[in-house]
Structures are given as C-alpha cells and as structure tokens.
C-alpha cells in the first residue's frame, strides 16, 4: 500500500473510533450547570420516547422527545429530585414510559418470570442428571454372552 493510502486508512479508522453514542440533545437544550445537565442526561436515558418506543428521549429525534427533554431540565432547575422528575413524567404518560419497570403487583410476573423459568430449568437438569446416575454403571458381558456376540460378528463377516 502506498503511503497516501495508508494515511487515508489511518484517518478513516481514527475518525470511526472517535464516534460516541448517538444522542439527540441539541445545543439550545443543554443546561449551563454541568451537574444538572449530567442528571438530566441520566434521567433522559431512563425515559422511553412514546413515539419511537425502543429509544430513550435522550437519543430520539421526535419532537415529543425534545419537549420531554426540556421538561426534565425545567423540573431539575426548579429543584426536583430525580425521583420527583420521573414521577412528574409518569403522572402524565404512565409506567410504560419508564425503561426500568416499577416493582408493583402488576409487574411481579415481569420481574420474577425469567428467574422462575431459569429455576425450573435448573431443577429439571438436576433431576435428569440424578436419574441417569441412579441407573447404575453399564454391566460387563458374561462369557456366554461374549461368545454369542463374537459368533454373530463372524457370521456377519462371512455373509458379506
């Protein structure tokens, strides 16, 4: 490879390495206080965008997401705690807007389900292994059985 091509390749690789996680926060939304802004980013990452539902409002480009980002920052500037900000949004949009489902009777199945299924699978595996071990070791053939086995082998070889 020529020097030029190698240099171009190096530049391309470096620029690829410099890309960070995608986020949709625009410069006019960023708060002046870096601590509050960091809290805002953390909270935004926990809130689901109700339009594009597998994205957080931090990374969604929807206009509702931008409004919610601004709302989160306003609540933080007004002095709300993190929990209060999340409650404020949940009061308007419901639990579904939280990426981390709350621990409520209606979500017990959601939280405990995977562990329960894993436990059932684990117990099944243990039972199967225990049953296999209880079946005992394979027995050796007796001398008569061994002679009969070799006779069958010779007959099979001759008929070929």
């Amino acid at each position: 490879m020529t020097t030029v091509v190698r240099a171009l390749l190096r530049a391309a690789l470096i620029s690829l390495a410099l890309t960070g996680a995608a986020f949709a926060v625009e410069p006019d939304e960023i708060l002046d206080d870096p601590v509050l802004e960091a809290r805002a980013r953390a909270l935004s990452a926990e809130l689901r965008c109700v339009v594009c539902q597998n994205e957080s409002i931090d990374s969604s480009n929807a206009s509702v997401a931008r409004d919610l980002r601004i709302l989160v920052r306003e609540r933080l500037v007004a002095g709300d705690t993190d929990a209060e900000v999340l409650d404020h949004v949940v009061a308007r949009y419901g639990d579904f807007v939280l990426f981390r489902p709350p621990w409520k009777p209606v979500t017990y199945a959601l939280w405990l389900g995977p562990a329960l299924v894993g436990l059932i699978g684990f117990v099944a595996v243990v039972l199967v292994l225990a049953r296999r071990r209880a079946a005992g070791p394979v027995e050796e053939l007796s001398p008569e059985e061994q002679a009969a086995y070799e006779a069958i082998g010779r007959d099979a070889g001759e008929s070929r």
Binding site: S63, A91, R92
Partner: protein, 184 residues
C-alpha cells in the same frame, strides 16, 4: 408422580402455545399505551385563543363545568391525518350535536387560522398550544388525538390517531354515549 412428569411437557407446550396464540391476534396493538388520564379529571391547562378564529381559548375550567360530553381534539395545520379527520369531526359537530373543543398543538396561529378558514371551523373553543406543554399535560404522543370528556370533567376515552374508519368512529361514539349516560 410419573403421571405428572409425563403430563408436564404437554402442559408447558400448551401454556407457551396459548401465549403465542394470544400474541398473534390481529386486533391487538402492542405499541398502544393506555392513557393514565382515563377516569381522571382533565389536566390543568390554560391556553389562549387562536387570533382571528372568533372562538375563545380553552382551559381546564371550561371542561370541568361543561354540562355534557365533550370531544377534545388535538390538531395542527401541519398534520395530514388531521385534514382527513376534519370532515368527520365537522359532521359530528353539525349533525350529531357533539360539542367539539380543539387544542392547536405546536402550530403558528397564522397557519392554524389559514387552515381553519380553508376547511371550516367546527370548534366551539380552540386553545393555542404553541410550546406543546399542554399536549404533554394530556400525555399525547403525536397528532391527532381525541379525548372524550364527560359532563363532570373526567376523561373517559382517548383516541390515538385520526377518527377515520368505522371502528374508530364506533369507539368514539360509544364513549360519547357512555359519557352522556353517566353524566345524567
């Protein structure tokens, strides 16, 4: 014990199969988010009117003492399905005597005025929500959305998307009838 062990794989297969069958239902919308406003009083908001339309602005107080079921329609001039829905809403207001209030969401008042002058204004009141903050109070995720509010100011139904097609129309009319029946 052995009989249970024999039946267990069948039971597990039936349970999982049943769950998958439930998931295949064509009428189910997995992205539908139930509104937290159902059975709650209308959220607090106070919006100025859209200048030039001749109808007053909209606030929570207007919805609390209405005396009958109301349709609160969130619309915008830049929203294409709203154009299609406009004819349905106008007919409901004109022929069925439905009381229609509008929230003009994130719309320049000039654009909204031009849109209403072109298509007609079926709204009794229109609140201009340029910042979109009242929309967040109502928990909307887009435009258009329509809410059915009963005489006591309680939200009884939320319609996401335009009221087009027989199913959507039937749902809204059913909610209106229920709201009318409950209010008396």
């Amino acid at each position: 014990m052995t009989r249970l062990a024999l039946a267990l794989p069948l039971l597990i297969a039936l349970t999982i199969g049943g769950a998958l069958l439930w998931g295949l239902d064509a009428g189910r919308d997995p992205s539908a988010i139930p509104s937290v406003l159902i059975s709650q009083p209308v959220p607090e908001f106070d919006l100025p009117p859209v200048p030039g339309t001749g109808v007053p602005g909209l606030s929570a107080a207007d919805l609390g003492a209405a005396g009958g079921p109301i349709l609160v329609n969130v619309f915008a001039s830049w929203c294409v399905p709203c154009r299609a829905e406009h004819a349905v809403l106008s007919r409901m207001a004109r022929e069925d005597g439905v009381r229609l209030m509008g929230i003009n969401y994130k719309d320049e008042p000039g654009d909204a005025l031009a849109w209403l002058e072109e298509l007609g204004n079926p709204y009794e009141r229109i609140g201009s929500d340029l910042a979109g903050r009242a929309g967040i109070e109502w928990g909307i995720s887009g435009v258009p959305e329509t809410f059915v509010v009963d005489a006591a100011g309680t939200v009884v139904h939320r319609q996401v998307g335009p009221i087009l097609g027989p199913d959507a129309l039937a749902e809204v009319e059913r909610a209106l009838a229920a709201a009318a029946g409950a209010g008396t």
